[in-house]
Symmetry: C2
Subunit: 138 residues, 2 copies
Amino acid sequence: MDQDIISELRRRGYRITTARRAVVSSLVGATGHLTADQVAHTVKATNPDVDTSTVYRTLGLFEDLGIVEHAHLGHGPAVYHLGKTHQHLVCEVCGAVIDVPVEALDVLALELRERYGFQIRPGHFALTGRCDQHAVSE
Amino acid sequence: MDQDIISELRRRGYRITTARRAVVSSLVGATGHLTADQVAHTVKATNPDVDTSTVYRTLGLFEDLGIVEHAHLGHGPAVYHLGKTHQHLVCEVCGAVIDVPVEALDVLALELRERYGFQIRPGHFALTGRCDQHAVSE
DNA sequence: GTAAGTGCAAATGATTTGCAGATGT
DNA sequence: ACATCTGCAAATCATTTGCACTTAC
């Protein structure tokens, strides 16, 4: 799985460096979403001399190549993830994150399309609200 | 309209200061969404000695009191607005902002509620995508 | 060998905070 | 009078950038 990405990079003419390998491992080894800083920490565990700015540049490159995506879950730093786009639901009380397939927004997308001529591209910003445990019973 | 807010503040025991008056005027006089910095600029036009940090504090207070809300339209600074909550649609090509009533998300809210036990509270983050002019015809 | 990639340090942009002084009530 | 507000300067947090040096190819 690491290898797929490495090959992809090579195939596209990008150089395979220690930093890039380490970022790939960090992303592949993680379940879920990581901030750039968390990626940097994981990376530094094995490669202490990789700089955080390089991690940012690497994540930026991977994003341009469609290998990773970033999303905003709240007021803090952005989070990065591999794999296909999904919509994040974030509980404003406990911070719990639920990943839902973008298809869950299909009906909404259609409605906004028809009514406002607007095509949404879900996933970039979370939908905030309250999880089951912290629901407000009106 | 300025006066409603001023009275509200007074009624709740907050002090009426030059800075607060000026922030209220700025918000009332503007159509749409302003960044804290834009509010600060408007304020400084008549009251040059009001500091930007005071504008932030004032907006923060107004938000706590339910007088204003802030939303995130993209990677830049947050925007503040008076009035009732609405959902922002932001074109990722031209930055155009469309305001839609939160009721447009009712169907989605219901679905997410049933399927994931999650209650969304729309409006805090924009939905990004493409406006009519910049639609991708797949 | 050479361009692409990197570390480092410094810059940026948005927002927050500590504190001593000013001001609304 | 006295607590609340404010200006100012400095701190913070996430992210970006300039530049000289390294390294993958």
